[in-house]
């Protein structure tokens, strides 16, 4: 019995740590609707700064806590600078563009911390005065754990007072409910957002700083915490601080007792819980349905068939792609094959995101399913590449049918998080089901058939499959099916009211997108010869999002442009030292200068120059 109580306390202290990080994320999202990917980076920065400060005051209790607070403040200032310099300029961009900007911040911060603090793992000292254990029912409980257990509710209470008993809190709550109304009542939104970002970053920094006596400080901290923090925020209900607290308790305790019952399952437990919660309570435990923005986001121009100029450009591009292998070197062909694959992958995400208004944070699931589908076919059925490339979309579509059924029941960020949970489930299966997938060691020896073995032949195969896929999706976008999806994106109620079963259409679109992502995955696996769980993991999903948003979510050519730019940039600058910082800076610059994406930016320029019809002339 006493053992279980000790385990319960351990779970509580993990829950407190988790809550401290998650509450800042929830606060920022609630007010500014920014899905802040950089929150984990602020957490990591807090840990590094606190570790560095503590060195100057060894063993002093006051010094330790002073360092923790100072670190949190420094992080808060960095967060504020990020908000003012970057995010403030793009609040008016389409939803989620901030996500790409914060992803740029993640890359910048990783290299900045590597540059300043070095690459070695750091292990902070224990907290002075709290460096041993107390016996509770005879079980040793670390004193610092007890402190963390107390700190969670204290921060929760403090936030509650701040939000409910101060004028600032009233404004923040008002902004969480209805931003436009608050603005129209004369509240300085800009200042409010900055102050919320300050507080949110402070909490992230505090969360990181408080981990110094507990964990080893390393450069992988940022990404390992951010997924978990998202899970907590979503389970609790986005924007709800008490919800985040309950969710953190749930996850902390599940982990503590999960290791006793099913030690292997902890890897995916949190995501399964998130999926179950979202299916049963679509807005999280204490969340409220998303308030519809009055402006209904940006009113997009209706899409129309490509202008003659655009057709000419596309024709030239295609001709260039066809003659390219005869002019360029072998490696250029390999790289071009990569770009084609990612263009199809990004276009398939764009199909549901740009066209259907359904955001997926877990599109890599279908890329990975396709790749594994093809690999299984070769490994276990002894099949040929040709048939494996059929098996790829089939497997991906099967996954999309299953997950899509649940996902289309939600909308907005909640849907995005459910897709993320689905992708994590796929990833953990690939990672854990060693007999089938080879686990982390992957499946090897999946090479093309004899005729497609040369780089040039395989390039043309990829060009036909990926180019054909992109054109097929484009065709669908202009079909009645595509119009229905856009109707659902712009006004679900009106679409339903004219007798369209929107959910079924969205489900179909989800399956189509999954299927084409599966083709991309299938083509990918034969170009690399091997497949590993990485291809279904979060970074791959983020890649797809970044490509779509970089290219421009409101332009049909956006994903293709975005995939090309992103893949070629990555290849080119990864030859340099600190290349992640450079890539991050370029991404941020593109988002700030061209918040409509590269393709959108070019289109705007073309309209200004009179090459493309603009809306007035068109209507």
């Amino acid at each position: 019995m006493s053992f279980y109580f000790a385990q319960f306390l351990t779970g509580l202290s993990s829950a407190s740590s988790l809550f401290l990080v998650a509450c800042g994320l929830s606060l920022i999202f609630g007010v500014s609707r920014v899905v802040n990917f950089a929150h984990g980076s602020f957490y990591m920065l807090g840990a590094y700064v606190a570790y560095w400060l503590v060195q100057f005051v060894p063993g002093s209790i006051l010094g330790f806590w002073g360092s923790v607070l100072a670190a949190a403040l420094i992080v808060a200032l960095v967060g504020t600078v990020v908000e003012i310099l970057i995010l403030k300029r793009i609040y008016n961009a389409p939803e989620l563009y901030q996500l790409v900007a914060t992803f740029g911040v993640v890359l910048l911060m990783q290299d900045a911390i590597l540059f300043i603090f070095g690459g070695d793992d750091q292990f902070g000292p224990r907290a002075p005065g709290l460096d041993s254990v107390v016996r509770i029912f005879g079980e040793p409980i670390p004193e610092y754990d007890l402190l963390l257990i107390a700190l969670g509710p204290i921060v929760l209470g403090g936030l509650w007072l701040l939000l409910n008993r101060t004028r600032w809190g009233v404004l923040v709550r008002a902004a969480t409910l209805d931003r436009e109304m608050v603005a129209s009542l004369g509240v300085n939104q800009s200042w409010l957002f900055t102050s919320v970002f300050f507080l949110g970053s402070f909490l992230a920094g505090l969360g990181g700083a408080l981990q110094v006596p507990k964990v080893s400080i390393n450069l992988l901290m940022d990404l390992s915490i951010i997924a978990e923090a998202f899970v907590v925020v979503v389970i609790g209900g986005m924007g709800s601080i008490p919800g985040a607290f309950i969710a953190a308790l749930l996850i902390g305790e599940l982990n503590a007792f999960g290791v006793l019952v099913l030690p292997q399952a902890t890897i995916v437990l949190a995501f399964v819980v998130m999926a179950v919660v979202l299916v049963l309570r679509p807005y999280g435990l204490l969340g409220k349905p998303e308030t519809l923005a009055h402006a209904a986001g940006q009113v997009e121009l209706p899409i129309r068939p490509a202008s003659n100029l655009a057709k000419a450009v596309a024709g030239l591009l295609l001709a260039g792609l066809v003659v390219m292998p005869f002019l360029a070197g072998e490696f250029a062909i390999v790289l071009a094959t990569d770009v084609l694959i990612f263009a199809l992958f990004a276009a398939s995400l764009h199909f549901i995101m740009g066209n259907g208004g359904m955001v997926s944070f877990g599109h890599a699931a279908y890329f990975g399913l396709g790749a594994y589908g093809a690999a299984f076919f070769i490994k276990y059925a002894g099949g040929s590449m040709e048939l494996a490339l059929v098996a790829a979309p089939v497997m991906a579509a099967a996954g999309a049918i299953l997950f899509g059924w649940f996902c289309v029941r939600l909308s907005g960020v909640y849907m995005a998080m459910l897709t993320l949970a689905a992708a994590q489930i796929v990833w953990s299966m690939a990672f854990q089901w060693q007999d089938l997938t080879g686990g982390d060691d992957g499946l090897l020896g999946i090479w093309p058939s004899e005729w497609a073995r040369s780089k040039t032949a395989y390039y043309f195969l990829a060009l036909v499959l990926c180019g054909g896929g992109i054109l097929a999706m484009r065709r669908m976008i202009f079909s009645p099916f595509g119009y229905t999806l856009r109707g659902g994106r712009d006004n679900p109620n009106r679409t339903e009211s004219i007798g369209i079963n929107l959910r079924r259409h969205q489900w179909a679109a989800f399956v189509v997108a999954g299927m084409f992502a599966g083709i991309a995955g299938g083509v990918y696996v034969f170009s690399k010869g091997s497949i590993f769980p990485d291809e279904a993991a979060i970074p791959r999903s983020v890649d797809a999002l970044v490509m779509v948003l970089l290219g421009g979510v409101q332009t049909l050519s956006g994903p293709v442009v975005g995939a090309g730019v992103f893949r070629l940039l990555e290849d080119e600058i990864s030859r340099l030292d600190y290349w992640r910082a450079i890539l991050g800076a370029i991404i941020i610059a593109i988002v700030v200068i061209a918040p409509e994406g590269i393709a959108g930016f070019i289109k705007k320029l073309a309209m200004k120059a009179g090459f493309e019809r603009n809306e007035e002339q068109g209507s």
């Binding site: 964990v215 992988l220 006793l260 902890t266 070197g329 390999v334 060693q434 992957g442 090897l444 010869g529």
Partner: protein, 401 residues
């Protein structure tokens, strides 16, 4: 500061390269080196310093048959797909003679398979997965560092001497952890037939929640603990375990934990009395190691880590290979590499013809704390040649060429 040092290094390297070219005007032999430099700087920075030092020494001594040796190194960002793309580029555009490198096992396996498909010579430097030379082994791939099973066998031999019967295992929940636990179980049961494994913990790699894991191990009341966690996970495991007294009066056997990469960050909290594989750095007194150690200290101003030795030995192996081979096509290189003897700071080792694994060993000893830092004591050098499966076993595990 760092950037200044880096720039100074570049200028120096350029100067060395220029004089080398002026002196020899011979075409360099290019080696394609792929690694996850940006993903794992803590391990790969010392590794890179190791091969840079060795490269400098080889070229200062006149290069390979009068030709300078040149490394084209690229960062794969920790993504296996990127590593394969880079390998393509190295072979088709950079015209490298052979490939080397990789740290993470899955990336090593991806390049292993690339080498087989494209008939390119590949020396896997750091990855530990058994599959690289056994299950997925192929004609074109060799591996330098002692494998998971070799290191687990070294530890099992020492563990058998302690008399502990009831064992708990703690290992990260992925291929490496599972392979290590399976190998340790197999080797220990050979030596101690009545050994029992009564508890298994599988924390998520890089995400250990150490408190509950430690409690679960404690609750099973084992005589011995076999640990495979490393890096940040190890640090947390050690701290939570020390706090709760989990390691008191128990035998703890731990893979890789004696490597300075893992032991140093623990500082004064490094565990005492754990049986580990690792590297006692300055304490190794053999003349060949002493020379390496001093040169490394002089060049970089810090003590080498285990990665530095591996990096150095990559160049030592390749230099030996290229000096001996009379042609540089992949087939000749493979044939020359089989049974090749290499002199290195860690002693002489051989690339086995049976499975292309080098017999480079590692140091086995106990951890202790001296002057607020973790060190290895009572160590000895375990020669990799002594911890190999029989030739029949190898044959059954390795696909025929």
């Amino acid at each position: 500061m760092k950037i200044l040092r880096y720039m100074a290094g570049c200028v120096l390297a350029a100067g060395v390269a220029l004089t080398a070219i002026a002196a020899q005007a011979a075409e360099p032999i290019r080696i394609g080196e792929i690694n996850s430099y940006s993903r794992l700087p803590a391990f790969l920075d010392p590794y890179k310093k190791g091969w840079q030092l060795a490269l400098e020494e080889v070229n200062a001594a006149g290069g390979i048959k009068g030709r300078p040796l040149e490394f084209v190194d690229r960062d794969d960002g920790g993504k296996p797909g990127n590593a394969v793309t880079i390998a393509e580029e190295m072979v088709s555009k950079e015209k490298v003679t052979l490939l080397a490198g990789t740290f993470l096992s899955h990336i090593g396996l991806a390049v292993t398979d690339f080498a087989k498909q494209n008939k390119v010579f590949f020396l896997a430097a750091e990855p530990l997965a058994d599959a690289i030379v056994w299950k997925s082994g192929n004609r074109y791939t060799f591996r330098l560092r002692p494998s998971t099973t070799m290191q687990a066998a070294m530890l099992a031999k020492e563990a058998a001497k302690t008399g502990a019967k009831k064992w708990a295992t703690v290992a990260p929940n992925y291929a490496y952890g599972k392979e290590a636990v399976a190998a340790f179980k197999k080797e220990l049961t050979k030596l101690v037939p009545d050994a029992q494994f009564i508890e298994e913990q599988w924390p998520t790699v890089f995400k250990i929640d150490a408190g509950p894991v430690v409690r679960a191990v404690e609750a099973a009341k084992p005589d011995g603990i076999f640990n495979v966690t490393f890096g940040g996970d190890l640090a947390q495991f050690v701290r939570e375990g020390n706090l709760r007294g989990t390691f008191e009066n128990r035998t703890v056997v731990s893979l890789l934990s004696g490597e300075p990469e893992y032991l140093e960050p623990l500082k004064g909290e490094a565990p005492k009395g754990w049986i580990v594989t690792g590297y006692p750095q300055g304490a190794v007194e053999t003349p060949e190691h002493k020379a390496f150690f001093d040169a490394y200290m002089k060049k970089w101003g810090e003590a080498p880590k285990l990665g530095s030795i591996v990096g150095y030995n990559v160049v030592a192996s390749l230099a030996a290979l290229l000096n001996k081979a009379d042609a540089y096509d992949a087939e000749t290189l493979v044939n020359t590499m089989k049974g090749l003897e290499v002199m290195s700071p860690s002693g002489k080792f051989v690339f086995r013809a049976q499975d292309h694994q080098s017999t480079m060993g590692t140091w086995v000893g106990k951890t202790d704390v001296k002057d607020g830092a973790g060190v290895m004591v009572d160590w000895f050098y375990a020669d990799g040649a002594d911890y190999q499966p029989s030739d029949e076993e190898v044959k059954s595990m390795r696909p025929a060429e």
